[in-house]
């Protein structure tokens, strides 16, 4: 029985092919955007963990701290739990690094400033466990003589905020597009129902059950949703795979590992298929309830 409904559904789909293409296209574009947003979201989670950890914690000491006191602070920090390494950069070293950064060409800019060096002494700290970076940074902040602690968390937070704005805009778009897709599907089904009204009439007269009459239209709607999900899924998975291979599995700028293709593909497929079918079924039901009075 289901075989017949599926066959009829496919027949419907082919019979008014232009409307079908439009509906499938609408679902596909919607899910393409949604899928891309999801890929970013999945990886953003990953990123927030890795980038926060990889950025070192820069600890700036107060100006009045002497060399001896600085060594004491280094020892103290080193003895704190969860610390991997502490590197001390004195203000003189810091000045040299600054000189190098600026380069010989602009050397004059710094002129005789070395005498009046106002750079603070600095500790570069790395946590043993990357996820603990922020906690560690807070603990170091409490150590006397420490002026400012920069954990890199701000950078990550700013990036995450940006991504979440991006995601919200994406979701708003997707929501609007989903509604559009639903109406397009519903319209396609309406046309199918209209073009088969004679058959429907005869089916009713000879005693076909209501569900027997409804199924081919629902199948058609579900097929639209399914194909509309399968196309962007294929595009996104292939695109993601080639990106993954191209960058060697590591995001180039922030150097965090991308989620492997297999891990995102399953989640992506589940979400997109579910939404595609949902949109299809809902669009189908809208038309069936309105135009198929059985």
């Amino acid at each position: 029985m289901m075989g017949r409904h599926l066959r009829e559904g496919v027949k419907n789909l082919i019979r008014n092919s232009w409307m079908s293409v439009a509906s499938v296209g609408a679902v596909a574009i919607t899910l393409l955007i949604l899928g891309a947003a999801l890929l970013i979201a999945f990886n953003a989670q990953q990123m927030s963990q890795y980038v926060a950890g990889q950025l070192q914690v820069n600890v700036y000491l107060k100006q009045q701290v002497t060399k001896a006191q600085a060594q004491q602070i280094v020892g103290e920090v080193q003895n704190m739990p969860g610390i991997r390494s502490v590197q001390y950069v004195s203000k003189e070293e810091g000045f040299k690094q600054l000189e190098q950064m600026i380069g010989t060409q602009y050397h004059d800019v710094l002129g005789g400033l070395s005498q009046a060096n106002t750079l603070p002494d600095k500790l570069i700290v790395k946590a043993a466990n990357p996820q603990d970076t922020v906690t560690v940074a807070k603990e170091i902040q409490a150590v006397p003589g420490v002026d400012k602690v920069d954990s890199g968390q701000q950078v990550v937070n700013r990036l995450l905020a940006f991504l979440s704005v991006l995601r919200n805009i994406g979701l708003a778009f997707v929501l609007g597009l989903l509604v559009t897709a639903m109406f397009l599907i519903s319209n396609t089904i309406k046309i199918t129902i209209f073009s088969r009204r004679r058959e429907i009439e005869i089916m009713k007269l000879v005693g076909a059950t209501n569900w027997f009459i409804r199924w081919p239209f629902l199948t058609e709607a579900m097929l639209i949703g399914f194909i509309g999900a399968a196309i962007p899924f294929a595009i996104l998975t292939l695109g993601y795979r080639s990106l993954y291979v191209h960058v060697g599995g590591v995001f180039p700028i922030l150097t965090f590992p991308l989620l492997p293709v297999s891990a995102v593909a399953i989640k992506l497929f589940g979400v997109m298929l579910l939404i595609g079918l949902f949109v299809g079924i809902w669009g189908g039901i809208m038309s069936i309830r309105k135009f198929l009075r059985v």
Partner: protein, 227 residues
């Protein structure tokens, strides 16, 4: 078979189509339903296969209580009936055979479809036209296919709404012969018609409906209208 008790039908637009119809149609009866256009003939016929619902009164068809029939059960009623129309209602893209088989397929019948369709086509004498599309058949042949479709499910009642309305007199008589044979094998036939010639020649019970009421109900009655 068919039992109506004080049946009323009002349409939402205010038309009162039937005003207290009571009638009994027994097994293997052959009944003409006659009357002027707009007198309630169509409504009377449509109530029998639950195309319309009565506003008041009781209708029993093949044991189904039409007024209280749940929508879910309507298909079961329709499977116990065969319905034939003036405009044949064939599917243009299906052959004669496929049109008849369609009626079996959509009710989920799977067994012996081929044999049953052949039998039905044999009944109306069109086995040799099985693979022809309706557009290549004459009006009379198309109506025979429609009758075969109504018969294929072995109904106990055949309801026909002006089955000869689109056909010339000679063809009409051919169709009437088919109905007579159907009735001869014990199937009830209820036929709404405007065909004076047929009603007055092939004499059967006549139910005349005027202004929503039964004006006459005579065994071996006559037409008695000038249209």
């Amino acid at each position: 078979m068919i039992e109506m008790q004080n049946v009323w039908k009002n349409y939402p637009n205010g038309t009162i189509a039937l005003q207290g119809i009571s009638v009994h149609i027994g097994k293997s009866d052959f009944v003409y339903v006659v009357g002027p256009s707009g007198a309630g003939k169509s409504t009377f016929i449509k109530l029998m296969y639950r195309e319309e619902n009565p506003t008041k009164g009781e209708i029993f068809v093949n044991g189904f209580n039409i007024g209280r029939l749940k929508p879910r059960k309507v298909p079961l009623l329709r499977r116990s009936l065969g319905v034939v129309f003036q405009d044949f209602k064939l599917l243009p893209r299906l052959t004669a055979y496929e049109n008849v088989a369609f009626a079996l397929e959509v009710i989920g019948a799977q067994r012996q479809i081929k044999r049953r369709v052949r039998e039905a086509l044999d009944w109306v004498g069109l086995v040799d036209k099985a693979d022809v599309l309706p557009e290549h058949l004459s009006g009379g042949e198309q109506q025979r296919i429609a009758i075969a479709r109504a018969l294929v499910n072995n109904p106990t009642v055949i309801i026909a709404d002006e089955p000869t309305g689109n056909l010339d007199p000679e063809t009409s008589w051919g169709i009437m012969k088919v109905f007579q044979r159907i009735n001869d094998r014990g199937t009830t036939v209820v036929m709404a018609t405007h065909n004076k010639d047929i009603v007055n020649t092939l004499r059967k019970r006549v139910i005349a409906i005027e202004n929503g009421r039964i004006a006459r109900d005579e065994a071996k009655g006559t037409y008695e209208y000038e249209d």
